[in-house]
């Protein structure tokens, strides 16, 4: 595992002499509508040898190959979904930057909702409990130090 990361890091360093250069002029499709779709799909696909870059951003040769694959499929007349399925069949779900909703990723997708709902529930409970206690909470008596500070303040006036 550790080695794998090391290899990945080294791969990226060798491909990415610093920044990334993404789509090159030669790759662009002549049909602007298809090219637009190609770009939309590219930002959803991970460059597999890089650290958190989409193939749209990456200049790694593998990312370039994938961009070309996406464009090939589009030119061949695939729908966006078909292209994605084609890519996932070959590279696995790891390539999707937006993980699909399934059992394993359920928790990921519902987290915002769960946290929001739990927070709301907590607020409701706290508020109802509070409004039942109508008596004003008695302020804690002052400590000696506080009383002294208060006297000082009052003297100052």
């Amino acid at each position: 595992m550790k080695k794998l990361w090391l290899v990945l890091v080294l791969l990226c360093l060798s491909f990415a002499p610093g920044p990334a250069f993404a789509v090159q002029p030669g790759e662009i499709l002549s049909d602007p509508a298809l090219e637009k779709r190609a770009r939309e799909l590219s930002v959803e696909l991970r460059c597999l040898v890089c650290q958190n870059q989409s193939i749209d951003d990456s200049n790694a040769p593998l990312a370039r190959d994938l961009r070309l694959v996406v464009r090939e499929r589009l030119v061949a007349g695939d729908t966006n979904d078909e292209v994605m399925r084609y890519v996932v069949d070959r590279y696995g779900e790891f390539i999707l930057l937006r993980p699909p909703l399934r059992l394993g990723t359920l928790l990921l997708w519902i987290t915002p909702l769960v946290v929001l709902a739990a927070g709301l529930a907590w607020i409701m409970v706290a508020w109802r409990r509070r409004s039942r206690v109508t008596v004003e909470a008695k302020a804690a008596p002052l400590t000696d130090a506080e009383r002294k500070a208060l006297e000082n303040l009052l003297e100052g006036r």
């Binding site: 610093g18 920044p19 930057l97 937006r98 509070r130």
Partner: protein, 661 residues
């Protein structure tokens, strides 16, 4: 010798931490004032020693002392002065030293103000701060010694990673650390309050300025980092939802929530449990960020120290402090009494709503960042969670938040009138609609950009409705309005400016939808249309810099035949590291920018060129400056001024001046 002095100073600082960890804490528990009095001077001494240590390392960099391993690995005698200095923290060991320097700085600042706080609270907080400082000093001394020498010094160093040879490195980490580490003080105060079981509005008043300072620096730190990535990473992006970016965003979201909940605690003595918990969480997320960045458990473009041993050490620090503070919290939570009562529709209610959404978004980032790691550990499945996920989950949380900002500002404490607030916002809504229509007409698609820009205008205008209302309450004569404006509490102006800043940033984000991108091969003499402009490649030049060779393209930007600017984007080749970086050509025109990168020179002499026209893009960062300024103005408010308990000095026999309100 100087280098050894630095190392020794660090060891001494650690020894002082050991004293500080026990003596003032014991004093505060037993009520021994002599023991408590130790805290402030020891904190100042710690800062002096860590600063000395930092200065020693800086000196080693300045004179290019290649007998120090850290200098060999990250410096070069021919490097420009600014990068010799910023190179000090451009590596793992040095950045840890900056981290402890900031930790001790905040300790020292609190020590200077300690006289104005209850002495047991100050002593305990300084003691807790030393626990944190001590842990990180030990980490440096045991695993990441920046002062290690080598037996046979080389003639020349290996130079700093060229990506880091940028003014960004001089600015971004120090600002970010002031923010990250500034939250440690809030944490220390929270732990101290829990230890003494005295958690009240007064506590919030002492702690809020520190949170505000940390938040201000975190805001600009993140924003400057984003701008740095924008102009160096070469593809015009400014936020990548990278784990390291997320690691800085989480404490920011928590700190923003804390800032608002502490306000409720200060004014109304309510939300106490929650505020204390947030104070603990905010710094815990800072620690988590440090762990994520330095352990290398998550792959990121930023990670620079993938050493498992260090990772385990930081993990231990993380577990100790988060576990310890949360246990303390659990132990005390029963004894906490709830304070002020309020209706759901009230200023407090609005701030609770703010906290709910900010906390949810923070949890979303947290889960999104760590989920792949957890899933792989549990099921072995590898998934990616990238920008599409975060963009999709963030927008629904932030839209209601932005909608609520101006409303919340107009609600009264305890019981508010939402209908009245909405009515008072009619002008802001009107402005938003007008702006939306103008933009829809002038710029058109995408619809989302128009909507978000409209929302931004509503937030910006709405932010000032309250202050405007108060200014004009006595009529519209300019002199009177001016007098009333300066009479308003500064914290109110601060809030308005900061909220407007959030709107400004939102506008910049919305406008990215109107950007134009061109990717073309160009030869000298070629023209490209880029939105309203025409860009010409004049010629290509090779030049030699101090430690690099560069290929620069001279480009001219014209609008309707008139030259509006010249750019020379370049590629730099650093021989010492055999690395290439690209320097984007940036020209700010009004609030937008033309951004040109030359990724590649082809064999036939043509250049691959990426050109962007990004209207209003600078607003993204300008907004953060407004947020920073808003924080500063608020900090200057006399009621918030750190430790404002001091009696005002006044000549005898004269009546005290009336309070400003």
């Amino acid at each position: 010798m100087i280098v050894e002095t630095g190392h020794y100073a660090l060891v001494l600082a650690f020894a002082l931490c050991l004293v500080q960890m026990v003596v003032p804490l014991w004093g505060s528990l037993t009520g021994d004032r002599t023991l408590m009095a130790v805290a402030a001077p020891v904190s100042l001494m710690q800062f002096a020693l860590v600063a000395l240590s930092f200065a020693a390392l800086t000196y080693a960099y300045l004179v290019s002392d290649f007998s120090v391993l850290n200098v060999i690995e990250n410096s070069h005698s021919q490097k420009p002065l600014i990068y010799k200095i910023s190179g000090v923290w451009g590596n793992h060991e040095g950045s840890m030293l900056l981290w402890v320097l900031t930790l001790s700085l905040f300790g020292a600042l609190v020590a200077l103000r300690a006289k104005r706080m209850p002495e047991d609270l100050a002593a305990t907080a300084l003691s807790i701060q030393s626990w944190v400082l001590g842990a990180f000093l030990l980490f440096i001394l045991l695993t990441s010694n920046p002062f290690a020498r080598v037996g046979a010094p080389p003639m020349e160093g290996r130079d700093l990673n060229p990506l880091l040879q940028d003014p960004g490195l001089a600015i971004h980490p120090p600002l970010l650390y002031l923010g990250y580490v500034g939250l440690s003080i809030t944490f220390s105060f929270a732990a101290a309050a829990l230890i003494h079981g005295r958690i009240d509005a007064q506590w919030a008043r002492w702690v809020r300025p520190w949170t505000l300072i940390a938040w201000m620096f975190l805001t600009v730190g993140i924003s400057m980092g984003s701008y740095w990535a924008y102009y160096t990473l070469g593809w015009g992006g400014f936020w990548f939802w990278d784990p390291v970016e997320n690691a800085s965003l989480m404490p920011w979201l928590a700190a923003t929530a804390l800032l608002h909940s502490a306000l409720v605690m200060e004014k109304r003595d309510a939300l106490k449990i929650w505020t204390i918990l947030l104070a603990i969480l905010a710094f815990s997320l800072s620690l988590l960020g440090a762990f994520l960045v330095r352990s290398g458990v998550l792959t990121s473009v930023h990670s620079f120290a993938n050493d498992p041993q260090r990772g385990v050490f930081i993990l231990a620090i993380l577990v100790f402090f988060i576990g310890g503070s949360l246990s303390l919290f659990a132990f005390r939570v029963q004894s906490l009494k709830q304070g002020g009562i309020f209706a759901p529709i009230s200023r407090e209610g609005a701030l609770v709503f703010n906290n709910l959404l900010l906390t949810t978004s923070c949890a979303t980032v947290f889960v999104g960042t760590l989920y792949p790691l957890a899933l792989e550990a549990v099921t072995g499945d590898k998934i990616s969670v990238g920008p599409p996920f975060f963009n999709l989950t963030f927008a629904p949380l932030f839209v209601p938040l932005f909608l609520a900002i101006p409303i919340g500002q107009l609600l009264a404490w305890k019981r508010g009138d939402i209908l009245g607030a909405v009515q008072r916002l009619a002008f802001a809504v009107g402005m938003a609609v007008v702006a939306g229509l103008i933009l829809a007409f002038a710029r058109g698609e995408p619809v989302l950009s128009v909507l978000f820009a409209g929302l931004a205008v509503y937030v910006i205008v709405g932010a000032f409705i309250e202050t405007w209302g108060r200014m004009t309450a006595g009529g519209y004569s300019p002199a009177l309005m001016w007098r009333r404006a300066i009479g308003l509490p500064l914290s109110q102006w601060g809030a308005a400016i900061a909220h407007a800043g959030a709107g400004v940033t939102l506008f910049g984000l919305a406008a990215t939808g109107w950007g134009v991108e061109r990717i073309v091969g160009m030869k000298p003499g070629d023209n490209v249309n880029l939105g309203p402009y025409t860009v010409t490649l004049e010629d290509v030049e090779r030049r030699k810099g101090p430690n690099y060779v560069e290929t620069a393209a001279h480009m001219t930007i014209r609008e309707g035949g008139v030259v509006v600017g010249k750019l020379d984007p370049s590629r730099k080749f650093y021989a010492h590291r055999s690395m290439t970086t690209t320097e984007a050509g940036l020209r700010t025109i009004e609030l937008g920018q033309v951004h040109i990168v030359i990724p590649e020179q082809n064999s036939d002499g043509s250049l691959d060129v990426r050109l962007y026209w990004k209207p209003y893009v600078t607003l993204i960062w300008i907004g953060s400056i407004f947020m920073f300024l808003g924080g500063g103005v608020s900090l200057a408010d006399r009621r918030l001024r750190i430790g404002y308990a001091r009696r005002p000095r006044q000549p005898k026999g004269q009546p005290a001046p009336a309070p400003a309100e």
